[in-house]
């Protein structure tokens, strides 16, 4: 099955800009379904970005992060061709992980 994680990591000199879009409902727990029942919260809690054995960025997310969540950040010390690993875990214990090549 395809990964839920899409990553664009582009190195420019010593700085790599990372954008990531993850397919996830990010249900807040405040929305009712068509039958009037509350849809229970189902959202990503932690996203980690790792390069060369080091966590370069951690996102701690609550129910207020939008559906199909997006984040953008930049870090130094990587170069084109390096691996960037992205992993997430949600409040139901589900998770996914992918490794992207820095362009």
């Amino acid at each position: 099955m395809a990964s839920t994680i899409r990553v664009r990591a582009i190195a420019s000199g010593d700085t790599t800009q990372v954008q990531s879009l993850i397919s996830h409902p990010m249900d807040s727990g405040f929305v009712k379904d068509s039958k009037g029942q509350l849809i229970p919260p189902h959202h990503i809690e932690v996203v980690e970005f790792e390069h060369a054995g080091k966590v370069v960025f951690t996102a701690l997310w609550g129910p207020a992060v939008s559906k199909d969540p997006y984040v953008k950040f930049s870090f130094k010390g990587a170069k084109k061709g390096d691996d960037l690993k992205v992993s997430w875990v949600d409040n139901k214990g589900q998770s996914d992980s992918t490794v992207a090549k820095i362009q």
């Binding site: 395809a2 899409r6 664009r8 199909d68 953008k72």
Partner: protein
């Protein structure tokens, strides 16, 4: 009666000339010119191609948010899904590509088309379902994600190509165009709005909390990821919502009226670039 009302509407809206041709006959070429110049006169500073961006061409604050979201748009997942679906053969071994010219790549701008055999307008969505049924597969619901994924992918392969709709020399085609035009200008629902009430009389203005898109190019961004839906929507889904929003009765997806109004609006947008799939508030 209708024609008088429409001319009055056009006058009120400040058009230099009515948006419709003389009584008794549709004249698509003349109506195309009138429609185009109505909008370019109303928004003289707007680049022609920008009309396809709907509310984002009308409001700077919205435009900035759109640019932020379009950097990495949520419809990317739909494109991926559509691409995978497109490449997967049917049970009989054929593929979607076998039903379309150029294997279905870069053809979205030619839809809707008038189909002489059935005497009806077929939209891209209908063409896709016809392809499925011809190859022994069940058709997709016109408002749901599977169809949206396919049309998102096909729109993506046509990004930037100019809308290219033909009205062949067939009275039935002209009749479909005319019906679409009439649908567009007819008031309906408890709120008694026509499509034109919002998208011709009030582009760039607010209706409650939303900024209204101009009718020119309004189909070019389809299908769309709407923040309000948290997901993708086909043309049918959007038109049904429009009907509900004026407290009218939504029609089943790809009803003849919807296909005809899409034909009319797409013809009016000839030359403007396909921008789909798009995002909207």
């Amino acid at each position: 009666m209708l024609r008088k009302l429409l001319i009055a509407l056009a006058m009120v809206a400040g058009a230099a000339q009515p948006l419709l041709a003389a009584e008794g006959a549709s004249d698509p070429k003349a109506e195309f010119k009138a429609f185009r110049s109505y909008f370019t006169n109303r928004f003289p500073k707007l680049a022609l191609d920008d009309f396809v961006n709907g509310p984002y061409s009308m409001d700077e604050g919205l435009r900035k948010q759109w640019k932020a979201i379009d950097e990495f748009p949520p419809y990317d997942f739909a494109i991926d899904k559509g691409k995978a679906m497109f490449a997967t053969p049917f049970k009989n071994g054929k593929t979607y590509g076998d039903c379309f010219p150029n294997k279905g790549i870069g053809v979205r701008q030619n839809y809707p088309q008038f189909d002489a055999k059935s005497g009806q307008v077929i939209t891209l969505d209908v063409a896709l379902n016809r392809c499925r049924e011809a190859n022994g597969e069940q058709p997709f619901d016109y408002t749901k994600d599977d169809m949206a994924a396919l049309t998102a992918y096909m729109a993506f392969t046509s990004r930037g190509k100019p809308m290219d709709i033909t009205i062949p020399d067939d009275p039935r085609a002209l009749a479909a165009y005319t019906k679409g035009k009439e649908y567009f200008y007819t008031r309906r629902g408890q709120l008694n709005f026509s499509c034109a009430s919002c998208h011709v009389q009030n582009p760039g203005n607010h209706i409650r909390t939303e900024v209204l898109a101009p009718a020119l190019g309004i189909m070019n961004a389809m299908p769309i990821y709407r923040s309000a839906w948290g997901g993708m929507g086909t043309t049918s889904r959007r038109l049904r919502t429009c009907n509900s929003q004026v407290r009218g009765v939504p029609l089943p997806g790809e009803s003849e009226e919807y296909r005809d109004v899409e034909y009319y609006l797409s013809y009016m947008a000839n030359g403007l670039p396909i921008s789909g799939p798009g995002t909207r508030p």
